[in-house]
Symmetry: C2
Subunit: 408 residues, 2 copies
Amino acid sequence: MAIIVQKFGGSSVANAERIQRVARRAAEAAAGGNQVAVVVSAMGDTTDDLIDLASQLNPTPPSREMDMLLSTGEQQSIALLAMALHAMGKKAISLTGAQAGYQTDGVYSRAKILKIDSQRVLDELNKGNIVIVAGFQGVGENGEITTLGRGGSDTSAVALAIALNADLCEIYTDVDGVYTADPRIIKTAWKIPEISYDEMLEMAVLGALVLQPRSVELAKQHNIPLHVRSSFNHSQGTIVKEVAPMQKDLEKELIVCGVAHDLHVLKTTIFGIPDRPGVSALIFGLLAAEGVNVDMIIQSGTREDKQDISFTCGRDEKDKVAKIAAQVVKELDAQSYLLEDNIAKISVVGAGMMTHPGVAAIMFKTLADIDCNILMIATSEIKISCIIDETKINEAAIALHKAFHLDR
Amino acid sequence: MAIIVQKFGGSSVANAERIQRVARRAAEAAAGGNQVAVVVSAMGDTTDDLIDLASQLNPTPPSREMDMLLSTGEQQSIALLAMALHAMGKKAISLTGAQAGYQTDGVYSRAKILKIDSQRVLDELNKGNIVIVAGFQGVGENGEITTLGRGGSDTSAVALAIALNADLCEIYTDVDGVYTADPRIIKTAWKIPEISYDEMLEMAVLGALVLQPRSVELAKQHNIPLHVRSSFNHSQGTIVKEVAPMQKDLEKELIVCGVAHDLHVLKTTIFGIPDRPGVSALIFGLLAAEGVNVDMIIQSGTREDKQDISFTCGRDEKDKVAKIAAQVVKELDAQSYLLEDNIAKISVVGAGMMTHPGVAAIMFKTLADIDCNILMIATSEIKISCIIDETKINEAAIALHKAFHLDR
């Protein structure tokens, strides 16, 4: 008997009708002779609505109380899904994160799962139940409710799959898999049948927001295959696993598996910083202390003992970053700072580039051919990212998709 | 330093503005040098909305899952109230029923509190926190979430006051106390400054839905004084305690402390039941098994080995009762049954009637004087109730309020 973990996101359980669809999906898997555990997120906009409500009462609500508040969203979903399964005559039981044995490090709002004591889940599976588990949450010491941070439900599902030694972890979402590029922009984009963890990680981080990067890392560490698929149809999605046949495509010169873009980018430059040790440590120490996740960093060559430092992060960090930049300019006696949010990031991803030189050259030439100026560059072993003007992003994505022979 | 338990119902926390008002209320009590624990219900219509949602998925949702669902309502309120207090610069912490140590008998949907392990609450109070506790909920064995049933938050508050050995338990509601009659109907009704537990119990049960009867019973057992007052103003409400000075009023001939009415009454009569032992046991056993709370019972004199049995219960039990009545008629070979919901109950309550004969006579004469027919009568030591025609209820309440010298 196989153990399957299914995860359904908020849009998949946004209303009663969709919850019934999820219930049918879980029941089908169980009817196939499998033991099924289902991890669900909060219904549709529930989390956003609760955040709105909280902000009316406190512009900076304490994170402990935010976790107390937000964890109710998933608790509602699991109860409703269990009810829907009962209505179909299926045995089902809902479990909160605490009841399902999720133990976290106790850090509010962005807890890490330390371990899952899966005995209760196993007991309920062995009683013939479909077990419905609240995603996104767990408890720290003393039974304190902690959430895993936005999108943490993917991580909840993968962690449960690991704890149960599940045969498969299915991630149901509102898209039907991972595409070579955003199909809304690039009509020739196609669904990748299989992709490696590393490629998925780069695709996920870069704005193809199908899977939370944390969950992909976790799956990679424990070699749990993920099946990313749509909750709205039964078509095969994308399998994320260790050695993906995309590597076979290398022989057909498919060096790049996808083009990802991200409009949610803020570029900050601090000009005229005195060139002395510890400057970068100060700047990025301040950013880290405020929880700003920095992506790309460029330190320009010095001119007359002065240097410029540029970095990118998410646009929603704008207020924090402006404050820190002003502080840095003052403390370091720098010249000035500039925040730019009319930019975007375009990236090509592929394990193939490890063995194929010249990918960067093709990328830069392709962008040059469409008169697209490159503002920043960052590379990893399987990814090259460029910051470009926001208005050029669609044109760049289309050109790169074609240049790397991804068009079908 | 006094310990005060405050309880706020759903209408008192129905929106952000009202939650802020509750926060100010709690903060005022704490600023007065008291340790303050606050028990809150779910916001406004949250519980009803969740029940609606559940019924879309399952007409008879399993009670375990209903408790899982409904307990989120209070969890949201406590988090939001804690945030509001933080925004005012006050130390506050929210605790779920489980965290606050509420241990129940584990019966879903209508759990009884077995005990409160109040150590966590005391620890948090001693740290200088205003402690916000989720009403209506607790956990059974194995950490299973159970709710106390509708209106259970009053009971949560009284139980916490007992566990903390609190000096006072304030029940905040949307009316400013207990009145001698419904002031919407009887303009001359006035707020009773102090009332005994027993009188309050009769008033509460009879439709002056200010306090849950269970909570009054609990307060009586442990001699905890309750202060029923409005969350919308600062005026003194009604104190419920053991020996109320209403008894002093006896000397001023105030035998009756209030007139209560209840429109939510269903009368059922089963006609022509063969007169043999066990008939009542069968009927009321079936009703109990279905959870129907029977109020008044009348068994009429026999005629030719046949008898009629009438009883009243809440109108929302109509479907259940109709089914049971049909079954009884069939099983006992009775003649027929009749359900009437065009009736209402009017009652006079007062500890004074224990020592003053003739209250019933005054009541019946008063009703006769306004041509009001009495369909059923039930009495306790401190209460007389009559079932009358629904259309006569206001007139009867006004007449009785006057007859027992309650008009001011």
